[in-house]
Symmetry: C2
Subunit: 383 residues, 2 copies
């Protein structure tokens, strides 16, 4: 007997609301039509509201990695140095992008699962005068860890020439992040995470300082941010954009603003707290010492391969959760709770974890233990 | 903070699979087109397979009640008598339909929540020679009770002139019912229950005996079954049918046949067993002494109004469960588990029941108790 329902509890792509899918399937618009132009301009504005920035908001037809590359290729010249916080796979990606584009990465290594100590970033900057930027994740998705970007923004007030470039791919729509207030000069996100839209669009914002730092000749043709700014101000894009995805994103952003970004953030905080309580009630431990509100990384118990939990959840129960990456493969599994997720989805994630662990012979809990713990969180949080 | 997801756990309309919704939204077909004709004929065949009958299968554009009226109006003449089993709201509906069409109902009253004793039906038939039919529900949805129609079919072998007319609206697709083998002469169902399709279509099947009993001049214009048989054999309908719904139903029936009707029935049996175990683990009791596998009617605990459970579940948690009807209003609430439902949906239904009851001050359980009991059923059933 096969599972009949497929549920997506991964840290992207995430589940998409029905009305966003409906918007996605509306007749395709011509990307140069006045009708689309209006939707495009509105979508930029809605993004600015949610990301709380007065800066330029650019929509790119790419994954989030495309926007990361756009940042590195458009803001730095070969030979420039940038401090890169590496505490997981996506920190590594910043480092790789720097090397690809001839930027010298000054790596601040952090144990995977720990948040960077902002003082370490400050020290790297002080020891390396002339550094042009700090590249960091707000949330490091691979370890489910949130870095203290607000504090790093404060430190950067003393380094006026340094650009703060923050990958907020699994942070925007999970937290209420005042981009400008925190001094994030360049913020990046993607459609397929907490923005509740299918994959295919990335977002990059640039404040005035960042716009002024855009290089004359970026070493990329497709991701030319100067060109994009010029076009997108008019509701156009340099190249053909994914019009149906933009229409879908527009719908999703309106849902977020209707719920209210503070409420959305509060909901994610409660969902994450309940997940952590549920995990602990199974006798399990979190990987992260600074757990994020979008995804929870759980250490697989002694003798159990985390990939087997993922495999059983998907193959036997139709529920996709995520495994570990790089050296964490097999050591952890990850339950996502970002985007179009409510308390009953979180409980489903815990239930399938219990079922898979039981099948794998782990027995330090009774069925329902994690549900009880999570429900108590939900009930007292009045969700 | 409002709930963001709406879930339908009522005994119809039920949740509709994504691919059925996709089929529903395909471009509307002309009801006299060759393309639609082919789909219509195939849909009749698929229904015959699922309902396990070689008889005529007619698709009507109406609710299930329309098919019930069609049966009464086309199979009996004014002045005829029929034995009617009344053990709930839908038994009452048979009685009302009889009175509307001048048929004399010989009512076998059953306490709501009990299955009829087949011997009672036999007695009614013996005491009333000349009775033309027995009208019954396979499942009485209002009380979540299953009648032993198989046994009644056996009894009717001794009454060759009596038609067995069975309302299987919440039974087909929940159970594997061999319509012909059980001696059901006329079977009725609807699209919006276990057939996983939105409301709007009813199905009525007639074996040869029933076809031969169709009256010359039914007291209804719209539900003229002789006319429909003639048309539907050709892939037509007497009047315009709901073409998009037929296309959707076609898709849903293929899903059922792909899972296999035996597997579908087994799944429903396990979902129902787990629901009952969960309900009892909360210290609650079932209304029914013969509980059906499609919907579970739960007695509200002392001092709590069942309607309040329904209200909290819907308004606070976005989950629609059903209340009681007629004199059961307030005394029960009903959790449905038919159609596009899996174990995680059942657990969600139990969780929202726990949350609502806790809010109403009922405290004979701890959060997660019902989930634990249900998960144990699922796990040992290997679902």
């Amino acid at each position: 007997m096969k599972p009949i329902k497929r549920r997506l509890l991964t840290p992207g792509p995430t589940m998409v609301p029905e009305r966003v899918l409906e918007a996605l399937s509306r007749p395709t618009l011509y990307h140069r039509s006045p009708e689309f132009k209006e939707i495009f301009l509105e979508t930029r504005k809605l993004l600015g509201k949610i990301m709380r920035t007065e800066g330029e908001v650019l929509i790119l037809t790419s994954s989030g990695t495309g926007a990361m590359e756009a940042a590195v290729a458009n803001l730095f010249n070969p030979g420039d140095s940038a401090v890169v916080v590496v505490g997981g796979k996506f920190g590594q990606r910043w480092e790789e992008l720097c090397r690809t584009h001839g930027v010298n990465p000054i790596v601040v290594n952090v144990e995977w699962g720990r948040a960077v100590d902002p003082a370490e970033v400050e020290r790297a900057l002080s020891e390396n005068p002339g550094v042009k930027g700090v590249l960091i994740q707000i949330c490091e998705t691979s370890t489910g860890t949130v870095h203290d970007v607000k504090e790093i923004g404060k430190i950067l007030r003393n380094f006026p020439d340094v650009l703060l470039v923050a990958d907020g791919i699994t942070a925007y729509g999970v937290y209420d992040i005042p981009t400008d207030e925190w001094g994030i000069d360049v913020a990046i996100t993607g459609s397929q995470k907490a923005l509740m839209t299918p994959p295919g669009l990335a977002v990059i914002t640039l404040n005035e300082k960042a716009v002024n730092r855009l290089v004359e000749k970026p070493r990329t043709y497709y991701f030319n941010l100067k060109k994009e700014i010029k076009q997108q101000k008019k509701g156009q894009t340099a190249y053909t954009t994914a019009t149906n995805l933009v229409v879908a994103l527009n719908e999703a952003l309106k849902m977020i603003l209707k719920e209210g970004i503070e409420n959305v953030a509060k909901r994610h905080a409660i969902l994450a707290e309940a997940t952590r309580a549920g995990v602990k009630a199974m006798g399990l431990e979190l990987l992260s010492y600074s757990p994020a509100n979008g995804v929870t990384a759980v250490l697989a118990p002694e003798g159990i391969n985390g990939q087997d939990v993922v495999k059983i959840a998907r193959e036997r129960y139709g529920i996709t959760i995520a495994g570990g990456q790089e050296h964490l493969k097999g050591k952890i599994f990850r339950l996502s709770h970002m985007g179009y997720v409510d308390q009953f989805d979180v409980l489903t994630g815990l239930e399938v974890t219990e079922l898979a662990l039981k099948e794998l012979g782990y027995s330090k809990f009774k069925f329902g233990d994690s549900v009880k713990a999570a429900m108590e969180v939900f009930y007292s949080a009045n969700l």
